[in-house]
């Protein structure tokens, strides 16, 4: 008799809800009952309100149970869940769950399905097909594919990836680098972490292709120190790739060589800014550099460097495998392809939704999210991390599209959406934006370093009822100064959440509407 195949995720968020305990409980229960099972530690499907989600392989496909707690395991065995039989926690065939079925998973095609560190699983599910194609293409042709796909930097800046690569390709140099920005510090975002923990080979493959395209032989993944689990999984995957000829000298017997290394960051938010990141990688304080020169021309150690976000790089393999047109056919306007959107904060059904650009916030918050977790009215959402604007209900019909968001002074950023219910005090969040900027500013430019502290003081004055009209004017003026005078997005965007909170929720600042 063959063993029953059971899947228990090893994703950090699943573990944070008890996946490890569920894994042990299933193992013990099976052994006590003398039932032969094989437990696969897959990635998470990204339905976090249902984690720990346990799956079982059946002739009808994989069926799911969730949310499973260790105390549910015994009753699941009583009902013979390992045969796919019904239990109060049954969710049916996993791929038929509406929440998953209504997504367009391209970058996330394998996430949750495979064992993250199984090379065999990866290759069975179309892994390394993009690289195999790229190895037969001229660098210019690879760059053209990426440019034609319309892929824009998913870290938040939305700069066309193909154009960045073209600049690095054109820069004459013996030595070039690929740097993966895995310093995912924005609150409400976890799509980079999920790729690294749940499908690390796709990032490795994307980086190898990037190296091939621009002529770089060394890659670094600059990974935030808050992600120890991702670090362990990445290192395991890199070792496996090396042992199997995908990294190192003469990749797949070609003339191309590429080495890859994970560098652990040290808890500075600013190091997610690309030039600060490069300083940090060089072993210095993460002070933002002046631009120009662009990192694509003078980057790491002064050499041409492609700095790309995890999701951008992890999307490269499918573009090379299926072609630029396939990818560009998703999306709207100049926002091509799909975006792994993260539903976070006060939302009932939180998780990872990969959709083509064009879906509205309302659809995301209510159709996927199911409204707030607390059952109260959603007062505002913050899209794109701590530097993104707060959007009130009347803007929930905005489609997710870089240009449409820009029109309302908002950003799509890294695709994180944090919802707040009506109990939130928006002036507190605005003050926190300044506080965060003061803590995380690199200190190089004055608007950011000083403006953040002055901003907190001005908000305190407004809330304290001191010269409100005058101080609102000061706050707006400070915002303008920071937007136009800061060296990078840290100081340059901190006013976005602050001023949007002030504009849409003046009452929270103790202001009458007409005073603003």
């Amino acid at each position: 008799m063959t063993n029953f195949k059971i899947y228990v995720p090893r994703d950090s968020s699943a573990i944070s809800l008890g996946a490890e305990k569920v894994f042990k409980a299933i193992k013990n229960e099976a052994s006590n009952r003398g039932i032969k099972i094989e437990i696969i530690r897959n990635g998470s499907r990204g339905l976090f309100w249902l984690e720990t989600m346990v799956e079982v392989e059946t002739p009808q496909g994989r069926v799911a149970y969730g949310p499973v707690n260790p105390t549910d395991v015994s009753s699941m065995f009583d009902k013979e869940f390992y045969l796919g039989k019904k239990h109060p926690l049954s969710l049916g065939v996993t791929s038929e769950i509406k929440w998953l079925k209504n997504q367009e998973r391209l970058t996330y095609a394998r996430v949750g399905i495979t064992d993250p560190v199984s090379l065999k699983d990866y290759e069975t599910h179309d892994g390394f097909k993009g690289l195999r194609k790229a190895l037969n293409l001229k660098p210019q042709k690879i760059v053209d594919e990426v440019t034609d796909s319309g892929l824009r930097g998913r870290g938040g800046a939305a700069f066309p990836t193909g154009i960045k690569w073209q600049t690095v390709l054109n820069a004459p140099s013996e030595k070039k680098y690929i740097v993966c920005n895995a310093d995912e510090g924005d609150s409400g975002t976890f799509s980079d972490r999920m790729i690294m923990e749940n499908d690390p080979f796709v990032l490795i493959e994307g980086m190898i292709i990037a190296g091939l395209a621009v002529g770089a032989d060394q890659g670094y993944i600059y990974l935030r120190s808050e992600y120890p689990n991702a670090q362990a999984i990445l290192n395991e995957a890199i070792n496996i790739a090396q042992q199997n000829g995908f990294l190192g000298k003469n990749i797949l017997n070609s003339k191309f060589s590429f080495n890859l290394e994970v560098t652990r960051a040290a808890g500075a938010y600013i190091c997610g800014e690309e030039t600060s990141l490069l300083e940090s990688l060089e072993g210095k304080r993460g002070l933002v550099r002046y631009k120009p020169p662009l990192p694509a021309i003078e980057g790491l150690y002064g050499k041409p460097t492609a700095v790309n976000n995890v999701i951008s790089l992890a999307t490269i393999p499918i573009i090379l495998d299926k072609g630029s047109k396939f990818y560009a056919d998703f999306g709207m306007g100049r926002s091509k392809g799909t975006l792994p959107i993260q539903l976070a904060g006060n939302i009932k059904q939180t998780g990872l939704v990969e959709k083509a650009f064009g879906i509205t916030l309302r659809e995301l918050l209510y159709d996927f999210g199911g409204g707030s977790a607390t059952g109260k009215k959603i007062k505002a959402v913050q899209v794109g991390g701590p530097l993104g604007a707060f959007l009130p209900e009347e803007q929930f019909d905005t489609p997710l599209d870089y240009e449409k968001f820009s029109e309302i002074n908002a950003v799509v950023g890294h695709g994180g959406i944090v919802a707040f219910d009506e109990t939130i005090d928006m002036s507190k969040l605005a003050r926190y934006s300044f506080e965060f900027c003061a803590i995380e500013s690199c200190g190089k430019c004055t608007p950011c370093r000083i403006g953040s502290t002055r901003g907190m003081e001005v908000i305190d004055k407004i809330k304290g009822g001191i010269d409100q009209e005058k101080n609102v004017a000061v706050l707006r003026d400070l915002g303008e100064t920071m937007v136009h005078g800061s060296l990078c997005a840290m100081g340059g965007m901190t006013p976005f959440p602050v001023i949007s909170a002030l504009n849409f929720f003046p009452k929270d600042f103790g202001l009458e509407t007409n005073e603003t």
């Binding site: 060089e282 072993g283 006060n346």
Partner: protein, 155 residues
């Protein structure tokens, strides 16, 4: 004064990593992972080995929130203060922890058991509020879960 044992450990890490490009970052991690913090006494030997000034080494260490120049408690409890966790009531968790442990952020309990630190996002925003004890992330934290954590740490 540093013990001979610590000096020896620091020297080993320096020798192992000093020729690596961008050595300071992995070197400081190696030292802190090994002895729990980065003693200021290590600045001078490090600066000599890497041809830097002591001020540059000091500036590097103090720039990054992750690095400590004083020993921490046996366990480090990090509470996420970022927006997503705020939306799910992390402020209550913060004040509960501070009251329960009798310390503020960046402080260690008298019995040297727990050091409390703020953190700005653990990437567990779908399961807010979140905390991290040592390398373990815990989601949808409640006061009961904090009690369990502290109880567990005492064992």
């Amino acid at each position: 004064m540093l013990s001979d044992n610590k000096i020896e450990k620091i020297e080993q890490h320096v020798n192992l990593l000093k020729d690596k490009p961008g050595a300071l970052l992995p070197l400081m991690h190696a030292i802190q992972d090994d002895i729990g913090y980065i003693p200021e006494e290590s600045y001078e030997p490090i600066s000599k080995a890497l041809s830097l000034s002591v001020a540059e080494v000091h500036g590097f260490v103090t720039f990054y929130h992750h690095f400590r120049t004083k020993p921490s408690g046996k366990h480090i409890l990090q509470i996420c203060r970022a927006e997503s966790c705020q939306s799910m009531g992390s402020e209550n968790i913060e004040s509960y922890c501070k009251e329960k442990l009798g310390i503020d952020y960046h402080e260690t309990t008298e019995d040297q058991l727990i050091t409390l630190e703020p953190v700005y996002c653990l990437g567990n925003c779908a399961c807010s509020p979140a905390v991290m004890i040592d390398d373990e992330v815990i989601g949808r934290v409640t006061e009961d879960k904090i009690d369990d954590l502290i109880q567990e740490a005492k064992k």
